[in-house]
Assembly symmetry: C2
Homo-oligomer: 258 residues x 2
């Protein structure tokens, strides 16, 4: 569990904390939620790397969990990380409103489960080898990646007591940022440097996955990324507080190399 | 997910509801928690049956999840069931006190995670092929099986607003019942009928697992089961309300054939 928690950009955790701060809550009060997002994210990477899914031996520049230990350890470490992420969320009641904390847990489960991240992973596997399909591609990207990033943004806002329209605004920002993140992930699988990325490149093409470069070409994917970033920046302008953080994150993701 | 939720004895769900009722709460108010225990339990069976752990093709009298579908589907279905179990728990705030609901989620994670059920599973695998070791055996049984059954008993009591001494009493009952359940599980792996059990027998001996029959023989294991049942019955006498239910469950587990 520890092995697989090290490294990473901590994007999701940072979004939870910055979103809480934007709506006036001390970000240290939402630290358990920030940790929970990073733990759940790490768990999905551990399981994703297993032989029965992506069979990938490299992650965050180090051996993936099953490569460092063994397959059953990686399976159970992933399970324990998922469980621990909810265990952390359940401690939110000590620093935040209990009813808001319960809503956050319910949303975390909804955005990460069968109708969210896990559903997107299954669709990702089902889509392997199929002809490029824009609707399926969008479903995969929204669910596999964008929903958890969106949930991170919503979580800080909910815990801070933001109004429903404010939560919807940061939710729209999170979906745009999340889609942007996955489009650039697709692009980096084609153009990225394995040493910088810390994971193998070319894996999507090898598995014949549904990706933006496969569907609309590398230039089309780059246009899509720039459009999504522009949309995220525009939505972020309506947020209170630290607008610059949310805007610059979107601009950084477009040019990210890892 | 649906495939793996069908069948089963619903012992854990029943304990949640009966425990709530014993302490004066309408058991329908804790239905989400009862479902959560059954979902988490089903998820651990799905992952336990995978080729990298027990490699078992039969469960609850039907093909196990990866046998009915495929390995990645079983992996993701298990993940989604774990997540969904917490999603259900998070809805408890609608019928129960929010602070108690958060405590239940925190305990559910603690009893099922790395320091509970999942840790017990890892120890179970590590123990394969080692000489029988009473301390390790006890650790495995307590964590792999007893803690979730104990948590089910605690959950109903906590949600019903039982006092801390009352929660400790039903907790002790749950640990005794849980240990009893696993000892009889060990025995049935030796003496059981595969058609009645709905899962393969002889698997523990094949994998050279830490079990009571391996450590102290079949008769020793049966004595241990009778002792644990007697202890559970004795503790249950101190519970309020439906003492008979808790006592008869312990007596039924001793003679169970599935």
């Amino acid at each position: 569990m520890q092995h697989s928690m090290l490294g990473g950009k901590r994007l999701r955790g940072a979004l939870v904390m910055r979103s809480a701060a934007a709506f006036g809550l001390d970000p240290t009060h939402v630290m358990p939620a920030a940790c929970a997002f990073e733990m759940l994210h790490a768990a999905t990477l551990v399981h994703d790397d297993l032989p029965c899914i992506d069979d990938s031996d490299l992650r965050r520049g180090r051996p993936s969990c099953h490569a460092a230990f063994d397959e059953h350890t990686a399976l159970l470490a992933g399970d324990a990380l998922i469980i621990a992420s909810f265990g952390r969320l359940a401690t939110l009641g000590r620093t935040c409103d209990p009813a808001r904390s319960l809503r956050v847990i319910e949303e975390f489960a909804a955005f990460s489960g069968a109708a969210g991240l896990i559903g997107g992973e299954q669709a990702d596997i089902i889509g392997e080898g199929l002809a490029p399909d824009g609707e399926l591609l969008r479903y995969i990207h929204e669910n596999k990646t964008a929903k958890l990033i969106c949930a991170a943004c919503r979580t800080g806002a909910i815990l801070a007591g933001a109004s429903e329209p404010q939560i919807e605004t940061i939710s729209d920002y999170g979906m745009a940022l999340g889609l942007l993140f996955q489009v650039t992930d697709d692009i980096l699988d084609v153009t990225g440097d394995e040493d910088v990325l810390g994971k193998p490149t070319g894996a999507d093409a090898d598995a014949d996955k549904q990706t933006y470069p496969a569907a609309i070409g590398l230039e089309g994917a780059r246009d899509e990324a720039r459009e999504l970033a522009a949309r995220a920046v525009e939505i972020a302008a309506d947020l209170p507080g630290e607008v610059e953080f949310f805007q610059s994150i979107a601009e950084l993701v477009v040019i990210r190399e890892k």
